[in-house]
């Protein structure tokens, strides 16, 4: 589904990714862990198409197509979804209008008829229930005045509505208490259907207790320096990142 080969990228003059390789197949859940500043968020943003990043070398193929030349909205319509670490507040745009505009742009892309307002409202109310979100949030401006946990829940709601093929979760656990974390993880787990792929970017092992990955990768210095199964996350939790980095340096 996704094949990243020798990816180098920079922001301004700062080189952040230095030869990253990663392959994700349908149905797989990959966790990307690493110390702060290792390039985890950069990777998420580059895959989602955020302006401001320059890819200097390497490539990323998504479903056999060159991902890096696509506009962000095309990536989304083709099935890529980024759950933001810091979801953006958009005063004046109601959550339900936003969700409807997004949902219908995806349907239009697939040559499907747009869903009318009444049917859509029913549809998102069900989805909101599934992530234990008070439907009052649907009428509020997108993320405006939401708590950290509510914002993350809203990201998972969007994930549930847009049903992507490849979901990138960027530090979705940050700022969540344990109850919110469980709700968010349950929302993600419900989306696991053997076909949908996930890349879960996280600093801590904790999230991976709830979203159990098939593969764990350690990102450090702009490259993946170690890959393994879910047990690698536990090892990292115990020993930290230092031992791998030393090993690689040696």
């Amino acid at each position: 589904m996704l094949k990243i080969t020798n990816l180098h990228a920079k922001v301004g003059q700062r080189v952040i990714l230095k030869g990253l390789n990663l392959e994700v197949n349908a149905g797989e859940v990959h966790a990307i862990m690493g110390p702060n500043g290792s390039g985890k968020s950069t990777l998420s943003y580059i895959l989602a198409g955020r302006p401001g990043y320059t890819v200097t070398e390497g490539k990323a193929e998504y479903q056999g197509k060159d991902l890096l030349t696509m506009d962000p909205e095309i990536r989304a319509r083709e099935g890529i979804f980024l759950a933001f670490q810091y979801p953006v507040e958009i005063p004046g745009v109601s959550n339900k209008y936003f969700l409807k505009a997004a949902y219908n742009s995806l349907r239009k892309h697939r040559d499907e008829p747009e869903m009318d307002a009444g049917a859509f409202l029913k549809f998102i109310k069900e989805k909101a229930k599934s992530v234990e979100m008070d439907p009052a949030f649907l009428s509020r401006s997108v993320n405006e005045g939401f708590s950290g946990g509510e914002k993350k829940r809203n990201e998972v709601l969007q994930l549930a509505v847009l049903e992507p093929k490849l979901a990138l979760l960027d530090e979705t656990d940050s700022g969540l208490d344990i109850d919110a974390l469980k709700v968010v993880a349950a929302g993600v787990n419900r989306m696991r259907d053997g076909k949908r792929a996930f890349i879960v970017v996280t600093h801590y092992q904790r999230l991976l207790d709830y979203i159990v990955p098939d593969f764990v990768h350690v990102l450090s210095g702009g490259r993946i320096i170690k890959s393994g199964g879910k047990e690698l996350a536990l090892e990292l939790e115990k020993k930290g990142y230092g031992w791998i980095e030393e090993k690689v340096a040696a």
Partner: protein
């Protein structure tokens, strides 16, 4: 002559391109060549009480007035007992108001004590189609007796493509405990110019709610002077300007708090695209003794192009010591973060941009309580969203 008078008023006019008023050479408008229907041109539904001035003259053929007892809407030439108001001197720094004072015609609206007008009153200011650059002078007088209430919508528009200029002097007198909602919608063509001097006086516990909406026009200058003369009066001033092309809009507002316990809430917003320009100068002046005044003045602007310009100056002059006053001005561009967030959900770049601009402007439309007008303005707002730029 007008150019000289304006040039002498440098202080309040230094950001205002007055050449729009001196070039071409405007001649007083005559009778309109024909009377054109207003249907399809005005935003307000026919269910409102309607009166219209064409080229500054009362046009009986447009009037749709079935007024309840205690309410009158009549041409200035027919109104009696208003001399006291009409003869009031104009503020010395508003030379255009002085020119309009000589107007032969206009509209007088009066609501008697404790009468609530059943339906909104719709006043339409029209420039008729013409082959010449024509100007008109108009007066508007709105008087609410104690306890009366009314909703008023003034729309300004032009027929034809010739340069037109409407110069209006308006006075609003609000008696004790009265309430006026006053909407002013400028929907001029590419050659339409409007200058308006509006003086509002509030007696105790009177409420004045104003919505100034610029939805098109080459040049619009509004001088709004509000005097809080009675204790506990409230004034809400909302504004929204949507400007593109070479349009210019200028709002100079002065709210004087003379009495104790007055409230002012002012927020003007502008969306400025292409080579358009917007000027906001909002002064709240708290006089000695106007204790417990609670006033806020804000102006927020959204610039959509490199060449768009704004001059903003929210200001206070406070000569009382027990007051709460806040002010602020902001000039910004569309948030790149928000644009990316919308696009990352599949919403195209142009649609995302329009969505964000609409969201910025719709706050002011949402503040309009008059439902049919709110809906019409929401549509008009959609119609004036920026074209595809990215």
């Amino acid at each position: 002559m007008i150019a000289q008078a304006l040039a002498a008023q440098r202080k309040g006019w230094r950001f205002t391109p007055i050449t729009a008023l001196t070039n071409p050479d405007f001649k007083p408008a005559g009778l309109p060549e024909r009377i054109e229907p207003l249907a399809g041109r005005v935003l307000c539904p026919v269910g409102f009480h309607r009166a219209a001035l064409v080229n500054g003259r009362w046009e009986a053929r447009h009037a749709m007035l079935k007024l309840p007892a205690g309410v009158s809407v009549e041409p200035l030439s027919a109104a009696s007992g208003v001399g006291e108001y009409l003869d009031r001197p104009t503020p010395s720094d508003l030379p255009l108001a002085k020119a309009a004072s000589a107007a032969r015609d206009g509209i007088v609206v009066r609501v008697s004590r404790h009468v609530r007008v059943d339906r909104p009153i719709h006043l339409v200011h029209v420039s008729g189609a013409s082959s010449l650059a024509a100007s008109s002078q108009t007066r508007v007088l709105v008087m609410l007796e104690p306890g009366a209430s009314a909703e008023l919508v003034e729309e300004t528009l032009s027929f034809g493509n010739a340069p037109s200029w409407k110069n209006v002097r308006a006075q609003v007198v609000l008696g004790e405990g009265s309430f006026l909602r006053h909407h002013r919608i400028v929907r001029e063509g590419l050659q339409g110019r409007l200058t308006l001097a509006l003086e509002v006086a509030l007696a105790s516990r009177a409420r004045y709610e104003s919505h100034a909406l610029n939805f098109g026009g080459l040049f619009a200058r509004e001088d709004l002077r509000v005097r809080i003369e009675g204790e506990g009066a409230e004034c809400v001033l909302n504004g929204l300007a949507l400007l593109g092309g070479c349009e210019f809009a200028d709002h100079h507002t002065v709210v004087e708090h003379i009495a104790v316990g007055g409230t002012t809430r002012q927020l003007y917003k502008a969306v400025i695209d292409d080579k358009a320009r917007f000027v906001f100068d909002g002064l709240i002046s708290v006089k000695p003794g106007a204790q417990k005044t609670d006033a806020q003045v804000y102006n927020r602007n959204l610039l959509l192009s490199e060449e768009a310009r704004v001059n903003t100056n929210p200001e206070f002059k406070i000569l009382a010591d027990d007051v709460s006053c806040k002010h602020g001005g902001a000039v910004g561009q569309l948030s790149l973060e928000a644009l990316f967030y919308l696009r990352s959900r599949g919403i195209g770049a142009d649609e995302a941009r329009r969505l964000l601009v609409y969201a910025f402007g719709s706050e002011m439309v949402d503040r309009i309580a008059l439902e049919p007008l709110k809906l019409a303005l929401a549509d008009a707002l959609h119609g004036r969203m920026p074209e595809e730029h990215l």
